[in-house]
């Protein structure tokens, strides 16, 4: 029974069974299966990667294990392969470390053995503080309060971290830093001369550059070399980690990851950061030294006091009343000008107990004057024995008056020699602008000669020349190219002297020239927007009885002619010069119209 069934099966499903057999073989024979999978493996990985973002995660652990194992077992061949890259990396790291090392050694040496450190140790001993406390009060501390990541090309802010007043300011600061950077590169014309430190609105910035973006850090306190190295690393890391985001123009405030990463570099270097650095050996040696040298030291104190007194007397703007030793430092009592340069007093543990006053020391007076002139970049100043010499170019008369006026209130100047000249190009421009002549005339300034080119009224020209020469007495005005145009009164006068001869009423005008002159002048007046009234007065030789009629007709004829030429009818009226008698001799030259234009 079962045999028959098998036969039936083989008859019905012969080909399918064969196929099944083959498949079975493929799957069960390891070798065959391996071959099949290896054919599609690389494509499968490719597709899996694009479809399933977790693939990397899944592969990470076995690959890491594999690589670690490979490192352990094939050290030599891996070392050989990495050597060319490592060489460079190591060189770079070593250079940086050595730089760091040297800075550190310098600082330790400075602290360990300088007179300053000895003094501090002594102060610590007397004031019941630990040396560490004194040391950190005096030594460098800093804090990175803000970080700006800025696009090199256009100065737009990529990200910002830290506390700042408004986001609006941040964008402006970024742009300003970039502008300054551009300006520096431009001015020094080298690529190395990039901006490194800058102070804007009382904030100190350290700038470190990367290929597409740069990092500006706002620093409080005094930064160290180490911080600069850290910031350099920061910008490198950010470029490595976020190259995609940095290279596409994205929007400020949207790259949360970059912000997080930046925040890591908001470093605070505070007192407890470096307790390990205290080296106790010099401490002990110095204590011994202090004890053994006590008597010598008290002699030294007197010498030191004398030195401080001399030093304080040498500071211009500081008037010394007394110098006293207080603890391990000194207190100077007296008067201090706000402009006095007192940094030379800072290093000797000196406290100043002063009241403000205005010093007349020449150094200080000069400083005060320089401050006054600081907005004028092209001005140089010299002060010797109370004589102040000012040279250079300044933009306007107002400015000269302003500074001279302010100079009066600065004591200590006996004489002022003012050689200031005015930046004439600008001044001239402003002058013509103010006098509303910009479009009417052009000017050309050449060797102290000013040519005015264009149309001007006589009065205008006179007025301008008068004003101008009072402002710039050394400049000569050249009117050769000025076209003097008539004043309104003159034009009215000219019109009123015209007589249009009209002999025959049907062939009216036989003196076109006069008519054209009339029309031109009328247009001139109208264009000047003068309000006027034109009386057309017809005249005749009073030869016949109809003379008055003809006079009126003549006036009306001219009225029509003028209206045709565009003179507004509302402006004109017709009149006659009536005859007293009608038998006068015939005279053609008396036939016509005279004009009386009246300015209203």
């Amino acid at each position: 029974m079962s045999k028959e069934r098998d036969i039936l099966k083989s008859l019905l499903l012969k080909e399918e069974l064969q196929l099944l057999n083959q498949l079975e073989q493929k799957l069960l024979s390891k070798e065959q299966f391996t071959k099949e999978v290896s054919d599609v493996l690389s494509n499968a990985i490719k597709r899996a990667q694009s479809k399933n973002k977790n693939l990397e995660k899944e592969l990470y652990i076995p690959i890491r294990k594999g690589v670690t194992k490979a490192f352990v077992e094939n050290k030599q061949s891996i070392i050989d392969a990495l050597l060319p890259i490592m060489g460079q990396l190591i060189r770079k790291t070593v250079t940086n470390s050595i730089k760091q090392f040297v800075t550190d050694i310098n600082r330790t040496l400075e602290l360990g053995f300088s007179a300053k450190a000895i003094k501090w140790r002594w102060q610590a001993l007397r004031s019941d503080c630990t040396f560490a406390e004194i040391l950190f009060q005096k030594t460098i501390r800093y804090q990175v309060t803000e970080l700006f990541l800025i696009r090199q090309t256009n100065g737009l802010l990529i990200e910002h971290a830290g506390h700042s007043e408004t986001a609006k300011d941040n964008s402006a600061v970024s742009a300003m830093l970039t502008a300054i950077q551009g300006f520096i590169e431009d001015s020094f014309n080298e690529h190395d001369s990039a901006l490194q430190r800058v102070t804007i609105k009382n904030k100190d910035y350290i700038v470190t550059s990367g290929p597409t973006a740069y990092l500006a850090a706002v620093i409080k306190g005094a930064p160290t070399q180490r911080l600069e190295t850290k910031l350099q690393q920061a910008i490198e890391n950010i470029h490595a980690e976020f190259s995609d985001q940095i290279n596409t123009e994205s929007n400020y405030g949207e790259n949360i990851e970059i912000q997080d990463s930046l925040r890591k570099y908001l470093i605070t270097k505070n007192r407890s950061d470096k307790p390990k650095k205290i080296n106790w050996t010099p401490w002990i040696i110095i204590t011994l030294l202090i004890i053994s040298g006590f008597s010598y030291w008290s002699y030294g104190i007197k010498q030191e006091l004398k030195r401080i007194v001399d030093l304080s007397h040498s500071v211009p703007g500081l008037y010394v009343q007394s110098v006293k030793r207080i603890g391990s430092g000194y207190r100077i009592k007296g008067l201090l000008d706000p402009l006095a340069e007192i940094t030379s007093l800072h290093k000797d543990n000196i406290t100043l107990d002063t009241k403000p006053y205005l010093s007349l020391d020449e150094d200080i007076v000069l400083k005060r004057v320089m401050k006054l002139f600081s907005p004028y970049k092209k001005v140089t100043i010299k002060l010797t024995n109370g004589k102040l010499t000012i040279n250079g170019i300044i933009s306007s008369d107002d400015d000269i008056l302003k500074v001279l006026h302010q100079l009066e209130s600065i004591g200590g100047i006996k004489q002022i020699i003012n050689n200031l000249a005015i930046d004439q190009q600008k001044q001239m421009h402003a002058f013509l602008l103010q006098n509303k002549l910009k479009n009417q005339v052009n000017y050309l300034l050449n060797n102290n000669k000013l040519s005015l080119i264009g149309n001007m009224k006589y009065k205008q020209q006179q007025e301008l020349t008068r004003k101008f020469t009072s402002l710039f007495p050394e400049i000569i005005i050249d009117a050769e190219k000025t076209n003097i145009i008539d004043s309104t009164d003159k034009i009215v006068y000219k019109i009123n002297n015209l007589f249009i001869n009209i002999k025959e009423l049907n062939d009216p005008v036989n003196n076109y020239e006069t008519l054209d002159k009339l029309i031109d002048n009328l247009h001139l007046l109208i264009n000047r927007q003068e309000r006027l009234h034109i009386r057309l007065v017809g005249k005749s030789d009073c030869n016949g009885l109809f003379s008055d009629n003809h006079s009126l007709k003549r006036a009306e004829t001219l009225f029509m002619i003028l209206a045709k030429k565009g003179i507004d009818k509302k402006l004109m009226t017709t009149h006659i010069n009536a005859c007293k008698s009608f038998n006068n001799p015939h005279n053609q030259s008396l036939l016509g119209v005279s004009i009386q234009s009246v300015k209203e």
Partner: protein
């Protein structure tokens, strides 16, 4: 969402660049002329239909020589060419600028013919206006004094920038 865009104002000295920015941002105007040294920077947010654009405006000192311009213009998204309607030389200088930096004609730009409150002193010819239109998307007659067309002009440029 907000996008940041860099916009530069260029043109001859005294055409009113600084005044235009001041009018745009603070709605203020002063008659006194104080020339800009280097560059002055301001920012302003503009709301377009669906998004906010934060403009970083670079008001560059008036063009006198070609030396200082290139750096400030780097990476700029948009330009505003400013001329003074009453001052023929301010038109000529645009040629000088675009000749010395030919690539900037590619940047989206608008042109402001400024001081339109002094229209009766204008010297603008149709030909000049046509010429300005050849390389600007739009030409506006503006006045930093009355504020006419100032905001409109800035807004139009912003629209070009986000297209």
């Amino acid at each position: 969402m907000s996008i940041a865009k860099k916009v530069c104002l260029i043109g001859r000295f005294a055409v009113g660049k600084t005044s235009l920015v001041k009018q745009f941002i603070h709605q203020e105007f002063g008659e006194k002329y104080k020339t800009t040294v280097g560059v002055s920077i301001a920012t302003k947010k503009i709301k377009l239909a669906s998004l906010k654009v934060s403009l970083v405006i670079w008001d560059i000192a008036g063009f006198e020589q070609e030396n200082h311009y290139a750096h400030y213009l780097r990476g700029s998204h948009g330009l505003i060419w400013v001329v003074d309607g009453t001052e023929p030389e301010s038109f000529e200088i645009l040629d000088t600028i675009s000749e010395s930096l030919p690539e900037i004609k590619q940047i989206p730009s608008v042109c402001f013919i400024n001081k339109c409150d002094l229209k009766d002193e204008w010297v603008v010819t149709n030909k000049q206006e046509e010429l300005l239109k050849t390389f600007n998307h739009t030409v506006f007659e503006t006045s930093a004094k009355t504020g006419e067309n100032v905001e409109k002009g800035f807004k139009k440029l912003t629209e070009f920038l986000v297209k």
